[in-house]
């Protein structure tokens, strides 16, 4: 009796597998768009003109569904030697349950809410840039980095530069769940459903992409032949770069969505989407380079 055909029994790379991969990615992106569309349709059908109160479980679903889809999408990027699923899932949980709370704690400790302060009135005053980039951005990226560096980084599974991107994007995705959940639960759980869902999708992509950039640097630093000083400089610049991307994301998103006393949430969403997609696209170019250089690459593979 012949054994049933298993995926592992397929050739590692084949045209059929490549098609499956591309089809899966398209399905996932379609799922993300459908998620936002569904929220918009629900909003129209129910005639919701104002914000709605999301219960904690519902907020968790709205934050978690895009994260799961993105996570699957990122996972499929690692074509040559896919990482063990449970490792990727574990790092995702680390991002949401360890790195993000740790970042919140750290930020609260070093920069508690200003009591008698006066923030700059525009988003680009020096104090707001410093706070957004060097305090919040750097602290968040540092925690994402530490979550990977002191767990999966020491594992034999972290065996090629591309793994840095995969694991850091996983941790960034988990991180985004925490961020999105608290945003949806903030202001008494009152949120516009469609823009809330869209923001969740783009924020997840953004956090994952910023972390992915850092993962790219992390992977290169681990496997470079250069000395410790070069690796350290590379890592620190990577952290600063991720922090800058993270910080500007919040600042500019806030700036573009405001017009006088009016707030245009969709403008912010569009900006965030543009930035997140741009960073992700650049990251994908870098990933292609890593994949082409992968020690596990087989010629002819897509």
């Amino acid at each position: 009796m012949s054994a049933p055909l298993r995926r592992s029994a397929l050739p590692r790379w084949s045209l059929r597998r490549a098609r499956l991969l591309v089809g899966s990615k398209l399905a996932l992106v379609g799922g993300l768009l459908a998620f936002v569309g569904l929220a918009w349709i629900v909003e129209r059908l129910l005639g919701l003109d104002g914000p709605v109160n999301l219960s904690p479980p519902l907020a968790l679903i709205v934050a978690g569904v895009p994260a799961s889809l993105w996570l699957a999408f990122f996972y499929l990027q690692d074509r040559h030697e896919p990482e063990p699923m449970h490792f990727v899932a574990g790092v995702f949980l680390l991002g949401g349950l360890v790195a993000a709370p740790l970042a919140d704690f750290l930020i609260y400790q070093v920069a508690p809410p200003v009591q008698l302060g006066q923030y700059g009135l525009t988003p680009f005053t020096l104090d707001r840039v410093v706070h957004s980039v060097l305090v919040i951005g750097l602290a968040q990226e540092l925690c994402k980095y530490a979550a990977v560096r002191y767990t999966i980084y020491t594992s034999p599974e972290f065996d090629e530069p591309m793994d840095g991107v995969v694991y850091m994007m996983s941790v960034g995705t988990g991180f985004a769940v925490w961020i999105n959940y608290h945003r949806l639960q903030g202001l008494g759980g009152s949120v516009y459903l469609s823009t809330g869902a869209a923001q969740t999708v783009v924020t997840t992509l953004a956090h994952a992409s910023f972390a992915g950039w850092l993962g790219y640097v992390l992977g290169r630093a681990k496997f470079t032949r250069r000395g410790p000083v070069s690796r350290g400089v590379l890592l620190f610049l990577g952290l600063l770069g991720a922090a800058a991307l993270n910080g500007q994301f919040a600042l500019v998103e806030q700036w573009v969505s405001k017009s006088g006393f009016d707030r245009h949430a969709w403008r912010g969403v569009l900006y965030a989407a543009a930035v997140a997609v741009a960073v992700f696209a650049v990251l994908m170019l870098l990933v292609q380079r890593l994949l082409a250089q992968s020690p596990f690459r087989k010629d002819g593979a897509p």
């Binding site: 054994a3 298993r6 592992s8 050739p11 590692r12 040559h80 030697e81 750290l106 070093v110 920069a111 200003v114 009591q115 008698l116 302060g117 006066q118 923030y119 700059g120 020096l126 104090d127 410093v130 706070h131 060097l134 305090v135 750097l138 602290a139 540092l142 980095y145 530490a146 560096r149 002191y150 980084y153 020491t154 594992s155 034999p156 599974e157 065996d159 090629e160 530069p161 290169r220 681990k222 496997f223 470079t224 032949r225 410790p228 000083v229 690796r231 350290g232 890592l235 620190f236 952290l239 250089q293 992968s294 020690p295 596990f296 690459r297 087989k298 010629d299």
Partner: protein, 660 residues
């Protein structure tokens, strides 16, 4: 494996940067040594036949054996994980140092940026200086506004006349933060109060301003640049906008007083914001005068050791604060002490505590109850001296609260702590040399209960000659002790601390005699307490003067005889009153006898009493008999008249009273 199948590592990248030997000597499969896509031969996925014997073995394995196998497997796995982590973090790790430096450097940048950010957004401070008060304050405030007139809660008052533009005092303004409208700062500068007990005076201000939801948290004295500042943290209820749901606000008041002015800065907002604001303002507080008055609570003074029986009288000792309307505001202007003499909240004090001028009483009195030996009294209720029982001849007064500090009707029996009465038979066996304890709330700056020890030195008259009007003691009485209880070692009330007299001793030194009014002089007031009374404005006399309400002309003429229970001697002047049907002993109020009495009469020298009005029959009535020096007698339903009762009737034969 063909060359084409071999992995082609990037020359820049080093897939295996760890050239060190594996610290674990046990042979392990190395994933990097396997071609991509290949699996170890032992992989059950690729060798289904190989899994069969294993499954069979597992089936045959006992539970204990399986547990043992798993236990022996967990150990090496844990060891392996520990080695991996130790290696990665350990000093031999090629990534350790630079990685640690990266994380440390990033953490330093975060902390430094946070510090820099705080400095960048910290508001600038500027000098506040006016009317002798100076401090640094944040610049982020709106222009000051005059605090609107606050109506006193305890007494009706007309708004004060508008302040003259050039008048320097009072100065009372509020600043609102431009960053948070809930954060405010009030600055109040006024003429120094006449009463030096600043702590109690400020407490009255706050309590009567913020109402029943006001709660003082802590109060302590802080010395700033040589001045004592009273720092009081309190909570209050407020509505940000009229009609809003009330919130609980937090505030800190910093106050000091010099010879001419009182300065108070009050910070409102959340606890955190008030704390930050206080950090900025408090250390910089300065007043131009260097003659600050002490604000140290009396608890810091050394208290003598006292017997436990004396300690039991502390809850019966109260502070009697008096306040007057001054320019439309209620101000604490003086105070003394008092002693609870009735469980209904009746308090005995000195008449001069309530007396404002020769012919005018203070507007209101406020009672402060004992909380702890090291704490100021808690203000609980208020009343009007004009509704008290006064005996100016012996400088005594009987007061009772009838309103809370919001000015609403209130009764001591309506809840809260009980009022332990401290009263017994007057002592007639006092002799020189006996020890006395004087309890009270002297004025000097503070507020907690003080205990003075003294000896009976003798007795004196009003004029200083021989007599028994006062007990003389060497205890050093001061302002605020007036009206306070004087007790013996057993905790029995001996008298009321009343005055101090100075005289020149034989060697030319000034001698201070404390004068204590003996309890025996308060019998009339104590009789009123026993009879029951409710404060009523205008009814200040201790004489019970009933006016019978209109009753039917037809009825029974009642007569009887009033005698001393001890020796059957007739008692003259006893007032016998028949109260209207339905009034029980518990409802008797000596101030409302004109609403209650339907027939009354006073005994003559023979003890015989004939009621002036006939009592309707049939009926059942409560009867009350009072006379100075005897315990009042109140009998519920003591008089029962039937249809066939004779027109002239002595229901009891004799009424016997017990001497006090």
């Amino acid at each position: 494996m063909s060359e084409q199948d071999e992995p082609k590592p990037n020359p820049e990248l080093n897939p295996n940067p760890n050239p060190k030997p594996n610290p674990d000597p046990s042979p392990k499969p190395d994933p990097k040594s396997e071609p991509v896509g290949a699996r170890p031969a032992s992989d059950p996925d690729l060798d289904p036949a190989g899994s069969m014997p294993l499954a069979a073995e597992e089936d045959e394995e006992t539970l204990a054996g399986r547990a043992w196998r798993r236990a022996t497997t967990i150990g090496p796995v844990m060891v392996d994980v520990t080695r991996q982590v130790a290696y990665a973090l350990g000093p031999t790790s090629p990534y350790h140092r630079h990685d640690f430096i990266v994380i440390a450097l990033a953490a330093v940048v975060v902390a430094g940026a946070a510090f820099g950010h705080r400095r960048m957004v910290a508001p600038t401070v500027e000098v506040f200086e006016t009317r002798g008060l100076r401090f640094m304050r944040p610049a982020t405030w709106l222009a000051p506004e005059e605090v609107p007139y606050i109506t006193p809660r305890l007494v009706a008052a007309e708004p004060p006349r508008p302040k003259a533009p050039d008048a320097e005092l009072p100065y009372h303004v509020v600043y609102t933060s431009t960053l948070d409208s809930d954060v405010r700062m009030e600055v109040r500068i006024e003429a120094a109060p006449t009463w030096p007990n600043i702590i109690a005076g400020l407490e009255l201000d706050r309590r009567t301003r913020w109402g029943e939801l006001y709660g003082a948290d802590t109060s302590r004295v802080r010395t700033i640049a040589g001045h004592d500042w009273l720092r009081t943290r309190f909570r209050y209820a407020y509505a940000p906008v009229k009609g809003d749901e009330p919130r609980i606000g937090h505030a800190v008041e910093l106050a000091t007083v010099d010879r001419t002015r009182v300065y108070a800065i009050t910070l409102y907002g959340s606890q955190r914001r008030v704390a930050k604001l206080e950090e900025t303002i408090a250390p910089t507080l300065r007043v131009s005068s260097h003659t600050g008055m002490p604000l140290v609570p009396q608890s810091s003074r050394l208290q003598p050791a006292y017997p436990e029986s004396v300690a039991r009288t502390f809850p019966s000792t109260v502070m009697v604060m008096v306040a007057d309307l001054v320019d439309g505001k209620l101000r604490a202007v003086g105070g003394g002490s008092g002693v609870v003499v009735g469980a209904d909240g009746s308090i005995l004090t000195n008449h001069h505590v309530l007396d404002r001028t020769e012919d005018k009483l203070h507007d209101v009195f406020v009672i402060g109850r004992f909380v702890g030996i090291d704490q100021p009294p808690r203000l609980v209720c208020a009343g009007k001296p004009t509704a008290s029982k006064l005996q100016p001849g012996v400088d005594l007064a009987l007061v009772k609260c009838d309103m809370d500090l919001d000015g609403r009707p209130w009764s001591p029996s309506s809840g809260g702590p009980s009022w332990p009465a401290l009263v017994g038979a007057p002592r007639t066996d006092l002799s020189p040399g006996q020890r006395l304890w004087v309890l009270g709330y002297p004025d000097v700056g503070g507020g907690s209960l003080t205990i003075l020890q003294g000896l009976v030195e003798g007795f004196t008259s009003e004029e200083g000659t021989l007599g028994k009007d006062y007990i003389k003691t060497d205890a050093s009485l001061s302002h605020g002790n007036s009206g306070g209880p004087v007790v013996d070692d057993a905790g029995n009330l001996v008298g009321i601390a009343t005055a101090q007299r100075r005289r020149i001793g034989n060697n030319g030194t000034m001698i201070k005699d404390g004068l204590v009014r003996p309890l025996a002089t308060a019998t009339s007031l104590l009789a009123i307490v026993r009879a029951g009374w409710v404060p009523r404005v205008g009814h200040t006399s201790v004489e019970i003067e009933p006016t019978a309400i209109d009753a039917e002309a037809e009825g029974i003429r009642i007569s009887t005889r009033v005698v001393d229970a001890a020796n059957d001697q007739p008692i003259s002047g006893a007032l016998l009153m028949v109260l209207r049907p339905g009034v029980s002993a518990a409802q008797v109020d000596v101030n409302r006898l004109d609403d209650m009495v339907i027939a009354w009469g006073r005994s003559g020298t023979s003890g015989d009493v004939y009621l002036k009005q006939p009592v309707p029959a049939p009926g059942t009535y409560t009867v009350m008999v009072v006379v100075d020096g005897y315990v009042p007698l109140i009998g519920t339903d003591a008089l029962r008249l039937a249809e066939d009762t004779v027109p002239f009737f002595d229901p009891w034969g004799e009424v016997k009273l017990e001497a006090e």
